[in-house]
């Protein structure tokens, strides 16, 4: 036990909060005094972060480039190639106009791809940022930078940070839940939802669609709920007896953990059970209770992607249920967005289309559903990849196409509490290779999310290895994107 924990426990005892409340890491970092990093009236209570691992092409989905279309197939201007680092492109490539049409959606007239008609139907709820940039152009480091604030391993994920800073709002569920789809984990592995240097109780809890939703939440075969209750009663009796002998308050805490575990054993299966949702809600999302995706067992999931794969839809519906139950941070990772054009499964034509099909309806349903429940006023949805894609085609020797990684400019969108609706922020150059106006760095995005949650991003730190570690990194540059706040 660290002093940190003890200190909090001391506070909790004196303040009359239950041990149970504390047991799941619910107490925030500075409970005994108004933490210096907290601000007034946070707009956002919960965050649903939708990460499209691999990074979808902004030029085919969110950032229309008529000039690029016109110059399709021509050699790219020298300045787009010379002196630049690319992951794969080695020779001066040709430009690739989007093979898909763009359309104006909503009253705001937001231009987005025809591949996302349902998302388009909620365009008036979206706050689209076309001027994102990052420092990293390989998947794992870029994902780490986006979610933990630094490109190396060892940092703490955004979800861990906010739970450390704010605590969860539900005592029977973890405060940070992770849901994955697409058949693979993101490139950076579990570190992207890890707690890094923060205590491990803040790490994301991976909620699975097959087997135990949370590891070991089921009792062993042969021990039903009542049997478990009886064993726990005996365990508690013996532990309490020992506590009276030894006097260590840590034992009380352990008893509380076992009780919380017991409550989780019923709360978790309940919340992941989609069968309790009415049919029209399931239809709205395209969710299918008990759905097992072929992608999970495929050698290369991209070979089996279908637009009607319900894994992501189920996760969106779960995210709503979690937020409804007071989970602070829900992190969705959907794999399969790395469209280089090397193979059919990696191409815009054959893979981006079904991938869009998988997410289009569920995401729009999530927004609508949160709205109709009044939860969109306190929930922030963020949707992004880890970087963007080049206006250049990565290779021209195939019948299909794709784009290389591009850190300099990409698009993300947000929706919900605290951000403008039907709004587009920033722009890119004519060919989309760089930001033209309103540049937003990924550290700025983190600062903005923290700000919306009632945390002053620059003051929010954790002391480790002699440094005040921060989600937004050590530099003073990151700033809240004021222009998008509502």
């Amino acid at each position: 036990m660290t002093i940190d924990n003890l200190k909090r426990r001391h506070f909790i005892k004196n303040s009359g909060l239950s041990l149970g409340a504390m047991a799941l890491g619910m107490m925030n970092a500075n409970a005994e005094e108004k933490a210096h990093y907290l601000t007034h009236n946070p707009k956002v209570k919960s965050v649903i972060y939708l990460h499209m691992a691999g990074s979808p092409s902004q030029l085919d989905l969110f950032d229309p480039k008529p000039t690029l279309k016109r110059l399709n197939g021509t050699l790219c201007p020298k300045e787009l190639f010379e002196g630049k680092r690319f992951a794969f492109i080695k020779q001066r490539p040709t430009l690739l106009g989007s093979p898909f049409d763009f359309k104006k959606y909503g009253e705001c007239g937001m231009e987005m791809s025809s591949l996302l008609p349902n998302l388009g139907s909620v365009a008036d709820e979206l706050c689209l940022i076309r001027s994102m940039n990052t420092d990293q152009f390989n998947h794992a480091p870029a994902q780490l930078l986006l979610h933990t604030g630094k490109p190396q391993f060892g940092g703490a994920s955004m979800g861990a940070w906010v739970n450390y800073g704010l605590g969860t709002m539900n005592k029977d569920l973890p405060g940070y839940v992770v849901l994955t789809s697409g058949g693979k984990f993101p490139s950076s592995g579990k570190s992207v939802w890890g707690s890094g240097f923060l205590p491990s109780k803040y790490q994301g809890v991976h909620c699975r669609s097959k087997g135990d939703p949370i590891l070991y939440v089921s009792n062993p075969d042969g021990l039903n709920k009542k049997g478990r209750r009886n064993t726990l009663d005996t365990l508690n009796t013996l532990n309490r007896k020992h506590a009276s002998r030894v006097g260590d308050p840590e034992i009380d805490s352990r008893i509380a953990q076992y009780e919380l575990a017991y409550r989780m054993q019923s709360a978790v299966p309940d919340i992941v059970d989609l069968k309790t949702e009415p049919q029209h809600i399931l239809d709205m999302y395209g969710a299918k209770p008990g759905f097992v995706s072929a992608a999970d067992s495929a050698k290369d999931p991209r070979d089996v992607y279908k637009a009607n794969d319900a894994a992501f839809a189920n996760n969106c519906l779960l995210a709503r249920k979690m937020v409804e139950s007071g989970v602070r941070f829900v992190h969705l990772f959907d794999w399969g967005w790395d469209h280089h054009g090397n193979s059919k499964g990696e191409s815009l034509e054959h893979s981006l289309v079904p991938k869009c099909g998988q997410i289009d309806r569920p995401i729009s349903a999530l927004i609508k559903d949160l709205k109709q429940r009044g939860l969109l006023d306190s929930t922030l949805i963020v949707c992004s990849g880890e970087f963007g894609r080049t206006p250049m085609s990565q290779r021209n020797d195939r019948e299909w196409h794709g784009r290389d990684h591009q850190p300099d400019a990409f698009s993300i969108w947000m929706a919900g509490a605290g951000v403008k609706k039907g709004h587009v922020h920033g722009s890119t150059t004519e060919l989309g290779n760089d930001v033209a106006t309103g540049k937003v760095h990924v550290n700025d995005l983190q600062a903005t999310i923290l700000h919306l949650m009632g945390i002053e991003p620059h003051k929010f730190s954790y002391s480790f290895q002699g440094l005040d570690q921060r989600l937004i990194g050590p530099s003073e540059h990151p700033k809240v994107i004021k222009e998008i706040l509502s």
Binding site: A140, G189, P199, S200, G211, N219, P220, L238, D296
Partner: protein, 968 residues
């Protein structure tokens, strides 16, 4: 924010009237509030408060209120106030009071405590305290008005000692033997026995492996398997052999550079090959090579110096006096190793283990015998005949002319054509030849590799490999169609299947294989054989038009044959020699084939596994060293040389400026940090918290030692005892501080909740490994097998989903399922969940401290994870088999798990559960079978299933008791 809390405690505890100690009381305040801007990095307003000059500038000794330092803190002027508002930092009242008192006392200056020379302090002259170590503790306790706790019971003592040294609970027999031994030396003997056990090395290796970021995969996106378990075994052995810490250091950092380095010395250097390798497509190997080198600097800094050097890789350290130049000067020591983020992890070394070495001797002897026996039957004449049957006769003919479509010239000598220099544009070679009269069925293009080409064939260069788009053959101007084609080597995506003109494109063709310098052959058959006269002109066109590669074929020959009988055999000769084929087919020899193959297989199985190792670049290939501005590897700054940081002890001039010298410098007696950091780590394992809680940081921002004198005394004593870990541990175990009862009295809750002053013994939850190992050992399942490949105990399916990696978790069989926790396969992007639940790190980077947490997910593991359910089942069967009466059974269970008999009230509580469960399982036999047998297997015939099931529930409770999960 534990750091501030300790600081605060210390501050109140040092009585305000005592003279202020700058290093302990003032420097931490300045570091926390001021150094970020007025420190080694920024020095805003040219003011550095970490050096004496700055202190003189900003204070007026004896006059606190007239000192700018105080004025700026207290001012109401928003523009002037320090620290500035936007930092969100504000000094506390007592901190300001301390600053004032310090200035009034003359604003003395002092070096940061941990950078001060390490000297052995006087042992406090107090009567109390059984050992010297205890006297340091007692003095502090007195100051706090606390008294030590009495010695704990012998039962608790042996349990504590066993867990601390061996990582598992003691057996009932061991406890009873210790209880029965009333000799004075009983406890001392017990320490010696435990320290001599091989289990000791396994227990203590875990901590080192966290530091060494040891794992079974390479990390990053693909996170593929890495064969490096031999290093883990090296660590266990070294700890068991009590290898002195300086030697332990030297071998891991520079074992390969030692004079007469043994295989084991080289193996030790795998320590710094535990850095990650990034196999993700499109990564720049140089970028991730430099990342790995930086990781080596950071890891070395954390482990030996207790410093977060990493901060200085982008800019000069904000808090500690490490400049960016000094960082890259340290980097320079590590920058000359051969490894370069290659997917095969080279350089690697294949090394047999001891038992494999013995096997090798045996196998090779047998093999030699067999081979000489076979040789006796070898018939040279028959071999010659065989050769003639197998090989085609290739005819070079005479060259008439050779030209290219570019300006480059082809030279011809002895039927080998060579190109003057590399050609960059598309090119077509035209070769005209004549051949002796005859009928020819095939053509062979031979592109010479490095081995046969002294001039180093450009066309097989690393980055520019040839691609032959297609080839054509004309006789007297008339084209002859080609059919079958075959190549011995080709690039994976450049197979010769498009070598005929009709299939050719700008992106197709036959390409050279990567990383192969051998001769490349392309064989093509003529659709109809060529009937040539001596005067017929044969023209061969080699068309190279691919968009992909610029280098062209530059050394080659062209030959014809009348018979392609060696089509397969000759081509295959790259894998199997003709002689091998003869051995297999000759009537007198083929009888040996199977046996010899089996022996060879045994030989190769015993050659040992490949372990990545450190290897220095030869002098002429060594890399120049530069600062990487902002930490970016392409942002090259000033040139640097290998140097150690100036604020630390100087490096002995006789030491070489390489890894070997660095290792010696790290463990030199003059180092103020190494021994302090190392001994603190040992202390933390035993007491649950280091004397410096921030084990990873002894710098200005680190926590202060609770017992600075004791830390220094231990550090010097450690060195005086030749860096023997066993000896220093024994001193700790013999202290009465260690032996105290860990009972927490209400007085202690009030006065020292965190046991900083050690008025009681340690009491804290065991590590992930200890919990697994102890549960299995109580169940009688724990395997005592040491070393070897990592193993895979139960893990739910579907947890491994690394991109571009199809590796799966294959549950180990037999005793490998029940090995100690440290042998569990560790995949960095998806570590074994039980380990993670109990705070084990992912081992992507060096971890100095596992922060203990207490979560419901841990409860779920020990309650429901099949590993622990199985342990409960086996424990139940063991109890039922060993004892007959219920009472005896409970006592047996308790004595085994907790090293003490059960109390009557405890027996009552357990009995109640047992009876309820017995009733339930007698009524529901299927449930009983599940509970008793899944996953352990069938209940033995002499036990009743319902009884085994009920006792499994009871054991599940016992193995979840706080007292079981805790070392107390």
């Amino acid at each position: 924010m534990p750091r501030f809390w300790i600081l605060f405690l210390l501050l109140i505890n040092l009585e305000a009237k005592d003279k202020i100690d700058f290093s302990y009381q003032i420097r931490p305040i300045l570091s926390k509030y001021c150094f970020a801007c007025h420190g080694p990095d920024k020095a805003k307003g040219k003011l550095r408060l970490d050096i004496e000059d700055g202190i003189q500038k900003s204070t007026k000794p004896g006059h606190a209120t007239e000192s700018e330092l105080i004025e700026r803190i207290l001012t109401d002027d928003e523009d002037d106030v320090m620290p500035p508002h936007e930092t969100g930092k504000k000094l506390k009242k007592h901190e300001i009071a301390l600053l004032k008192q310090w200035i009034n006392e003359g604003s003395s200056f002092g070096e940061h405590w941990a950078f001060q020379k390490l000297e052995k302090p006087q042992v406090p002259a107090v009567k109390e305290g059984a050992t010297k170590l205890d006297k340091f503790i007692v003095v502090k306790l007195h100051k706090q008005g606390l008294t030590p706790s009495p010695e704990t019971s012998k039962r608790k003592l042996i349990r504590r000692l066993s867990l601390d040294i061996r990582g598992i609970t003691p057996s009932i027999d061991e406890v009873n033997a210790f209880l029965a031994d009333n000799s004075k030396s009983a406890y001392q003997n017990l320490i010696d026995t435990f320290l001599a056990s091989p289990l000791y090395g396994e227990k203590w290796a875990s901590k080192w492996l966290d530091l060494a970021r040891y794992a079974d995969t390479k990390g990053y996106e693909k996170d593929r398997h890495r064969e490096i378990w031999r290093y883990r075994d090296w660590v266990i052995k070294a700890i068991n052999d009590d290898m002195p810490f300086d030697e332990f250091t030297l071998k891991q950092i520079a074992g390969d550079m030692l004079p007469n380095a043994t295989e084991e010395d080289v193996l030790a250097t795998a320590f710094h090959r535990n850095t990650m390798t990034n196999d993700e497509g499109g990564t720049d190997n140089e970028e991730f090579r430099t990342e790995a080198v930086k990781d080596r600097v950071d890891t070395t800094g954390t482990i030996w110096l207790g410093l977060s050097l990493g901060c200085a890789k982008c800019h000069t350290h904000k808090y500690d006096p490490v400049t960016i130049k000094e960082y890259y000067s340290l980097y320079a020591f590590f920058n000359q190793s051969v490894d370069s983020d290659q997917s095969d992890d080279r350089p690697i070394r294949r090394m047999p283990t001891e038992s494999q070495k013995a096997q090798l001797v045996k196998v090779r002897k047998e093999l030699k015998q067999k081979l000489s026996e076979r040789n006796k039957h070898f018939n040279q004449d028959r071999f010659e005949t065989f050769k003639n049957e197998q090989l085609s006769k290739w005819i070079s003919g005479n060259s008439i002319s050779a030209s290219t479509s570019s300006k480059v010239k082809i030279n011809e000598s002895k039927n080998i054509y060579s190109i003057q220099s590399a050609v960059d544009a598309a090119d077509t070679y035209s070769i005209q030849k004549t051949f002796p009269q005859g009928e020819y069925s095939a053509l062979r293009l031979k592109v010479l590799g490095h081995q046969t080409n002294a001039k180093k064939n450009q066309s097989l260069d690393k980055d520019g490999k040839f691609i032959l788009s297609y080839l054509q053959v004309f006789v007297n101007g008339k084209e002859h169609q080609l059919k079958n084609y075959f190549a011995n080597f080709s690039e994976k995506r450049m197979q010769p299947k498009t070598i005929l003109k009709k299939h050719a494109s700008k992106t197709s063709g036959w390409g050279a294989e990567k990383n192969t310098n051998k001769d490349h052959y392309l064989l093509v058959e003529f659709e109809n054989s060529l009937k040539l006269q001596e005067t017929d002109k044969v023209e061969i066109m080699l068309v190279q038009q691919s968009r992909f590669h610029k280098k062209k074929i530059s050394n080659f020959s062209i030959e014809l044959t009348s018979s392609v009988k060696d089509y397969q055999a000759y081509i295959n000769s790259t894998k199997k020699s003709l002689k091998d084929l003869f051995y297999e087919r000759d009537k007198d020899l083929k009888g040996f084939t199977k046996e010899i193959a089996a022996l060879k297989k045994r030989e190769s199985n015993n050659l040992g596994s490949n372990t990545p190792i450190m290897q220095e670049l030869p002098k002429e290939k060594q890399r120049p060293n530069f600062i990487h501005e902002s930490g970016f590897f392409l942002n090259i700054g000033a040139k640097v040389n290998p140097e150690t940081p100036s604020f630390l002890h100087a490096m002995n001039k006789e030491y070489p400026k390489n890894r070997l010298g660095l290792a010696k410098w790290l463990t030199s007696k003059e180092s103020p940090l190494t021994a302090r950091v190392a001994v603190n780590r040992l202390w933390a394992q035993i007491f649950g918290r280091g004397l410096v809680e921030s084990e990873e940081d002894f710098g200005n921002q680190g926590m202060l030692p609770t017992h600075p004198d004791l830390l220094d005394w231990l550090a010097v004593t450690y060195m005086e005892n030749d860096w023997s870990q066993k000896k220093i541990l024994k001193k700790i175990f013999l202290s009465s501080t260690y032996k105290q009862s860990s009972k927490v009295s209400s007085e202690l809750v009030q006065k020292d909740r965190f046991n900083l002053y050690l008025a009681r013994g340690p009491r804290f939850r065991m590590t992930a490994e200890m919990i697994r190992d102890s549960s299995l050992s109580n169940a009688g399942l724990l395997s005592s097998k040491m070393f070897g490949h990592s193993v895979m105990p139960y893990q739910p399916p579907g947890l491994w989903q690394s991109t571009y990696n199809t590796m799966t978790w294959q549950t180990s069989k037999g005793e490998n399922k029940f090995r100690r926790g440290l042998y569990t396969y560790h995949k960095r992007t998806s570590p074994y969940p039980t380990m993670t639940a109990f705070d084990a790190p992912s081992r992507e980077i060096c971890t100095a401290r596992r922060i203990r947490s207490n979560t419901p997910l841990q409860s779920l593991v020990t309650l429901n994870d099949p590993v622990f359910v199985e342990a409960a089942q086996a424990f139940a069967r063991k109890i039922l088999t060993s004892k007959q009466s219920t009472e005896d059974r409970f006592n047996f269970a308790y004595e085994s798990a907790l090293s003490r008999p059960a109390e009557p009230t405890e027996i009552d509580a357990l009995k109640q559960l047992l009876e309820e469960r017995l009733k339930y399982y007698s009524t529901y036999p299927i449930e009983a079978k599940n509970m008793a047998e899944k996953p352990l297997g069938k209940v033995p015939a002499h036990l009743k299933t319902e009884e085994a099931a009920a006792w499994t529930a009871v054991c599940n409770v016992i193995l979840n008791l706080d007292e079981f999960l805790t070392k107390e």
